[in-house]
């Protein structure tokens, strides 16, 4: 009886943990290196950003709440036109979400980016980002009210 309770308890906790461990195929050392080489220069080591550089920390998860927002993280010039291939870009996006998004992530976790999804989205890089970003965020705020 006791062991059955334990198993049930473990299964329950396993379910609770499941969303957070979806992106298990992220190679931490490789993703960190790519973040350092292609993102950190502007977004800073802990994702705080500076002056005109937007913060990733406790912010970037907001964009996962709409389809446009999810596309935005891939289509911004720093992502879409970077030297990283699409598998590497998907990995560094998932790694950044896991390490920086914090409280901004949707409840219940998120669906990690895949190579195929990123490859398609980056075909349309954004140009007038500031206005577009404001529109995307306004739509996200509307879904949260």
């Amino acid at each position: 009886m006791l062991s059955r309770c334990l198993w049930l308890g473990m299964a329950f906790f396993g379910l609770m943990l499941a969303p957070a461990t979806q992106s298990a195929d992220v190679n931490d050392a490789r993703a960190r290196y790519h973040y350092q080489m292609f993102c950190q220069g502007c977004h800073t080591p802990d994702g705080s950003g500076a002056n005109a550089v937007p913060a990733l920390k406790n912010q970037m998860g907001l964009f996962l709440r709409t389809e446009k927002g999810r596309g935005f993280l891939v289509r911004v010039p720093g992502s879409a036109t970077s030297k990283l291939n699409s598998a590497q870009l998907a990995e560094v996006l998932n790694w950044s979400l896991d390490n920086f998004a914090g409280s901004s992530l949707p409840e219940g976790g998120y669906e990690p980016y895949t190579e195929a999804e990123v490859a398609q989205l980056r075909q349309q890089p954004l140009q007038e980002i500031e206005n577009y970003r404001a529109t995307v965020l306004a739509e996200i705020v509307a879904t949260m009210q």
């Binding site: 290196y33 220069g41 800073t44 500076a50």
Partner: protein
């Protein structure tokens, strides 16, 4: 009673004097001191090395343009301006927005990720101009160019000098 204590202590003292030497005492004390410093280091040092940040083996002077970390630098060396390869001179602010590349360290044969944080807020330093530009890209690759003023995250955009901070080890595929 007193004579009993006298005899007792005299006997004990003579027995110690006959069976030990002053140098023997020094030897044991020295051994204990050295041993005490070595014993805790053994497992602690091993645990400390495991998975921690890997520090480069340093060789050369950070006031020379040839210094390994400066492989892609373009600017005045902060180490000649009152700062160092890692720190800004007094009165300047380090820009958190920076450009990042890798440099090969000949002393240990590894590649390290280097962040060229500029120090800002005072007019140009003017000492130790160093331009090596390895891996420098044109400004249409803005994250990999050293031709722009990187004083972008600071209160003042006035450029003073450049640092070269080791921020990690390059990932080898």
């Amino acid at each position: 009673m007193m004579s009993f204590l006298d005899r007792l202590f005299e006997k004990q003292a003579r027995s110690v004097a006959q069976t030990s030497s002053r140098r023997g005492m020094l030897k044991k004390l020295g051994g204990a001191l050295v041993g005490a410093t070595a014993v805790p280091l053994l497992p602690v040092a091993r645990a400390d090395n495991h998975g921690g940040p890997q520090k480069p083996v340093e060789q050369g002077s950070d006031t020379d343009c040839d210094y390994w970390r400066y492989c892609a630098i373009d600017g005045f060396l902060c180490s000649c301006c009152g700062g160092s390869a890692n720190t800004c001179p007094p009165g300047t602010e380090m820009s958190p927005v920076t450009w990042i590349g890798t440099c090969h360290n000949p002393a240990d044969g590894r590649n390290y990720v280097i962040s060229y944080n500029d120090c800002c807020g005072k007019s140009t330093c003017g000492a130790c101009l160093c331009q090596r530009d390895e891996g420098d890209r044109p400004p249409y690759r803005p994250d990999k160019t050293n031709d722009i003023n990187w004083c972008l995250g600071t209160a003042s955009a006035a450029y003073h000098c450049s640092t070269a901070v080791v921020v990690g080890v390059a990932f080898e595929e």
